[in-house]
Amino acid sequence: MRYILSYYRNYIPFMFLIMAFLFGQAMCELALPGYMSDIINNGIVKGDLAYVKGMGSIMIAVSAAAMICAIGGVFFASWSAARIARNIRSALFRKVMAFSAAEMDRFQTASLITRSTNDIQMVQQTTIMFLRMAMFAPIMGIGAVYKALHTSVSLSWTVGVALGVIICIMGIAFFAVLPKFKVLQSKLDRLNLIMKERLAGILVIRAFTTERQEEHRFDEANLDLTGINIFINRAMSFLMPSLMFVMNAISVLIVWAGAHLIEADKLLIGDMLAYLQYAMHVIMSFLFVTAMFILLPRAIVSAQRISEVLGTELSIRDPDQPLQLPETEESSEQAGPANARGLVEFRHAGFAYPDAENNALTDIDFNAEPGQVTAIIGGTGSGKSTLIQLIPRFYDVTEGQVLVDGVDVRSVSQHDLREKIGLVPQKGTLFSGTIASNLRYGDEKADEADLVRAAEIAQAMEFIEKKEAGFEEPVAQGGTNVSGGQKQRLSIARALVKKPEIYIFDDSFSALDFTTDKALRAALKKAAGGSTIIIVAQRINTILDADQIIVLDEGRIVGKGNHRELMASCRVYQEIARSQLSDEELARYGAGQSAGASESFGERGRSDGRS
């Protein structure tokens, strides 16, 4: 809550201003019954029409003042509430943009989206309500009590009785009905879930002809929901008429008690009528405040969820004095291979997810060198993706070091580091805009020729050309109008536009068919020959001709070498290969063609990996 409240601090002067307006409004509105009482007492009862006219003009003036105060209040309330919401929204968005993968994992994307949309809206609505009504009700209520007491102390017990009864009614509603709203929400969620599942599984449901089961499942949820809805609606149907009854009954009570006072000359008839109005004001204000208390908990939950994000410490920050990475083409002064451009070194790196018992990666030690293709392979959960996420510092190592061009990635600014890297993530994320605007994500200044070159290498030209508007073809949010394979090719092209020194492909070829996969890799090797290329793959075909293959198993390197070497030495690699390639292929790649293949591999054949 602390974090979110600070966004209200700047608007405290405005709140006082609003309060002043509301106070003015309340005073004016409360003055009206007094004038009315005077009109009746001194004008009508005494038959003085001039007095009625005079007081009438005063009443109009006062109600005009009430209106102006109310408008002033509304003006500043809307103005401040919108700005407070904007500032919180902006702060939240900036915060999330600064998050590292660890924080994204912690909150989950879906939850962050809800926090940035629904929760903020909840807070905004409550803020407006609060500034416009909730602040007004107590002022009005207290003012009305004061006026009522001022008019007649001996009648005050009537308002007390009314409030007592109302508290009882609200109390019953609160305890009997409010918990049911939670149940209602869960039943509604259940119905929506079933609905969602049925839509997603429509093929399966029809194939297994289980339509009836699904209808039955839905019907159960529907009946449940209808039952609870009927209960709540019926319970609520008591509320409004009962409150109305209490208010009406109280006016009867006031007239009865008032009559006695009037006869005893303790009260004027006009005052009794004014008192009736004050009593209504008191009751209405009370109801308003109660309603606020019902709404407030939900807003507080939302506010807490937002605060939680705002208050999160970033786990990855830029160093106070970032080192410069060696510039392209300039020889570096750091130790390591001369003229290093895009050299990635893992030095006994280890990584554990926060709160995890075991390391996700342990003792990762290898170099990915410029001009070479380094492939990483292993089963699900072997840590492949985690490993490459250490390079652009999405996560920080918990042991050892990751170096780029001889510099620890933690000692340079994240911006500089990522300038060197072209990442192609597992799912081809595209943004709404055009194909061109997506490709220019890699480099804003890229010209048409750059885009064409990148698209050609990524084998995307073929389908871009078929689009009506070519590069200007619109891309829908989430890239829903582009197929999976096209998305991957476009996200590869995006990385190519950047012309980085280090390419990282995180299982980026999985949605491509073999032909495209192959053509793409061939073109890539030609075009990005001087860069460091790191490929994470599931399919062994994708990495057969890599210069170096790192085999991961349960977060450890269990093999290092080229395909032929690993086939000879690494058991895990053999298993993977056997599961994916037929004997014939194995034979062709393992032995038959090894002579041919080793020509291209030969030069940089590395020593066998340690198992």
Binding site: M36, I40, I44, V45, V52, I60, S63, M67, I71, W79, A82, A85, R86, R89, S90, R94, T117, Q121, Q124, L193, I194, M195, A200, G201, I202, L203, V204, A207, T209, Q213, E215, F218, D219, T226, I230, N233, S237, M244, F245, N248, S251, V252, V255, W256, A259, I269, G379, T380, P392, L423, F431, S432, G442, A476, Q477, L512, F514, T516, K518, S579
Partner: protein
């Protein structure tokens, strides 16, 4: 479908509305949606209300009664005041008469309460039952719509109908409908009561109405644009948030945070601007109408005072009149909103009816089924003896299927005028395995969808065991097929329930045997609750590979004579993949199988290969034949395995 996606407003623009009692004023400010056919929609809606006609009449009577009692009471309270005034002017208050009057008043209030509650009570039942029926019909409709319908409609759109539109109709039925009646009765009733006191005073008070109306109209017109813009930018902001959080890693990797934030701030600023303006303008309404109300009040006082002085009316009359004037404003705004409300309700109801009235799949056999439908629904969860017998009989029939599938000059296109499959003929003999291969996006699942009659052919026939698939009922036909798709759909529920999906009448032992055959039994038994492990909403408490194995177990259990398998197993580790392959191989044994093949050994081992490209079947034959032909398949094969 993509096109439709683009036209849809960004998510959040029409997010699920939370229910709340008593409509907010904001809703009235929104530019109302309009139904295309208002009359027709209302007529259809009235059909749903018809079974409750009697109750609705009672509701109507109650609402009118409750309102009437409320309307009379200020006049009676005025009488009481007069008694008091008489008392001071004359010889003391006549307490007996006063008590009588107040007693009557209290009784009237009590009756109003009673009828009010009764009305709400009955209406709650009626509206919820109507809503239940609407939901139920939509639910059943989903199963009868042709698959084609879902190609053209996004899930979001359908869900919006089932959630938002239903909610709108629900609100209208449960509160707005009676509110409409009571507002109207109040308006007329108050008018009569006011005229009874003084015609001139009524005229003076009514002068205010056009002024109020004008203010409301001007404010609404002014703020509507801002409200629209606010909704629009809210959509932009929320859409942007959703998109950017989803692509968080890419934005970070490409150093695009600044640009993203810049864009966000632009949306955010505009949202803020339109937001406060619309809030302010709508906030104007209350103070302004209140001022106008006060004007009326003063006029009433002036006129009333004059009349009281000349003795035409009493002080009690003035008091009653003031109360009437005060309670006149609310029903006016409500009646003014009725048109909007009816329009938006009609628009929502129309979308619901559109779905309910959508053309259904033709299925002659279904018409003969209704007799069976009732008991089947009730008995499925726990199999009754009669049910078991019936299922047995069905199974028996299924086992007799040989599994011969014959395509006879089949032509098909998702769009009528754009056929993708041209004149395709081929026969799969019982027990054969057919591989379907082709590059990504070649439309490999089309053939599968045609066989199971998810789509209708343009021309030609598909025969299963020599009988046209259109002569089977869909249920009969689909029971002959078992299916393992790449998209591993499971529903929330236990592991056991999910496997049993393959055959609803299978015993626990059969379920477990199927799991064993799919190599998943061991895994299931290592889980906290074994077969009763609940698969959660996102189905993320089991891995992708295990999901795949569960779908295989499901297919094994179905024991269908024809199997359809999709080999693509992305993001599964190698050992699991091996298990999946073994399970699939076992599943194919002795059955006619259609495999969307990715594995070379499957392709080579297949009896027949169908090669697809751009939706069409471009080649067919055995591996050797196709290689010898040196066509598309040969190219595909060579590019894949030869440098």
């Amino acid at each position: 479908m993509a096109d439709r996606d683009m036209k849809r407003p960004a998510p959040g623009a029409r997010g699920p509305r939370r229910r709340g009692h008593g409509g907010g004023r904001g809703a009235a400010m929104m530019p109302g949606e309009k139904a295309k056919d208002f009359k027709g929609t209302m007529k259809t809606l009235s059909v749903y209300l018809k079974p409750h006609a009697l109750k609705l009449v009672i509701v109507l009577v109650c609402a009118v009664a409750s309102t009437l009692f409320n309307i009379v009471s200020p006049a009676i309270l005025g009488l009481a005041t007069d008694k008091v005034v008489e008392g001071i002017r004359g010889s003391g208050v006549d307490y007996h008469a006063l008590l009588m009057i107040l007693g009557v008043l209290l009784a009237l209030y009590g009756l109003s309460l009673l009828f009010g509650v009764l009305q709400g009570w009955i209406m709650a039942g009626v509206s919820q039952k109507v809503i239940y029926t609407l939901r139920d019909e939509m639910s059943k409709k989903l199963n009868r719509l042709p698959l084609k319908y879902f190609d053209g409609t996004t899930h979001g759109e359908l869900q919006s109908r089932m959630v938002n539109d239903i909610e709108t109709v629900n609100q209208a039925l449960s509160t707005s409908l009676t509110q409409m009646i009571t507002s109207f009765v109040t308006l007329v009733g108050i008018l009569i009561m006011m005229i009874r006191i003084s015609f001139l005073m009524t005229l003076a008070a009514l002068l205010v109405i056009p002024a109020s109306m004008l203010v409301i109209r001007v404010v609404v017109a002014k703020s509507q644009g801002h409200f629209k813009r606010q909704q629009e930018y809210l959509g932009h902001v929320n859409g942007h948030v959703e998109e950017m959080y989803g692509g968080h890693d890419v934005i970070r990797a490409f150093n695009q945070e600044e640009m993203t934030i810049e864009q966000f701030e632009e949306f955010n600023d505009r949202l803020c601007e339109s937001g406060w303006k619309s809030q302010f303008l709508s906030g104007l309404m209350m103070p302004m109408t209140m001022f106008i109300g006060n004007l009326a009040f003063v006029m009433v006082c002036l006129l009333g005072g004059y009349f009281a002085i000349i003795g035409r009316i009493s002080i009690g009359d003035i008091q009653a009149f003031i109360q009437y004037v005060r309670s006149f404003n609310q029903p006016i705004t409500q009646v003014a909103n009725i048109v909007n409300l009816l329009q938006s309700t009609a628009a929502a109801a129309e979308r619901i009816f559109e779905l309910i009235e959508e053309e259904e799949e033709l299925d002659p056999a279904v018409d003969q089924e209704p007799a069976k439908a009732g008991p089947a629904q009730a008995g499925e969860a726990k199999t009754g003896p009669a049910q078991a017998e019936e299922a047995q009989a069905e199974n028996g029939a299924a086992h007799a299927v040989r599994g011969e599938v014959c395509f006879d000059h089949v032509s098909f296109g998702y769009e009528e005028d754009a056929p993708v499959i041209h004149d395709f003929s081929f026969t799969a003999y019982p027990g054969q395995s057919i591989a379907i291969v082709g590059p990504t996006g070649a439309g490999k699942t089309t053939i599968v969808k045609l066989m199971m009659r998810f789509y209708e052919l343009n021309s030609g026939r598909i025969l299963v065991d020599g009988k046209d698939i259109r002569e089977y009922s869909r249920q009969e036909l689909r029971q002959m097929f078992g299916m393992v798709l790449q998209d591993t759909w499971l529903h929330s529920g236990t592991v056991r329930e999910n496997i049993r999906y393959g055959r609803m009448d299978a015993s626990d032992r059969e379920v477990e045997n199927a799991a064993k055959a799919a190599h998943i039994d061991f895994f299931i038994r290592t889980q906290p609750k074994g077969y009763d492990l609940e698969i959660n909403e996102e189905a993320n408490n089991i891995s992708a590979g295990q999901k795949q194995l569960l779908t295989i177990a499901r297919a094994i259990l179905s024991d269908s004579p024809i199997m359809i398998l999709d080999e693509a197993t992305s993001s599964v580790d190698t050992r699991t993949e091996q298990q999946i392959q073994n399970a699939m191989d076992r599943l194919m044994k002795g059955r006619t199988s259609f495999v969307i093949a990715h594995r070379l050994s499957t392709i080579k081992g297949a009896d027949h290969i169908l090669v697809m490209d751009h939706g069409d079947i471009v080649e067919q034959g055995s591996h050797e034949e196709l290689l010898a032909r040196d066509g598309f398949y040969a190219k595909l094969y060579n590019s894949q395995f030869v440098e």
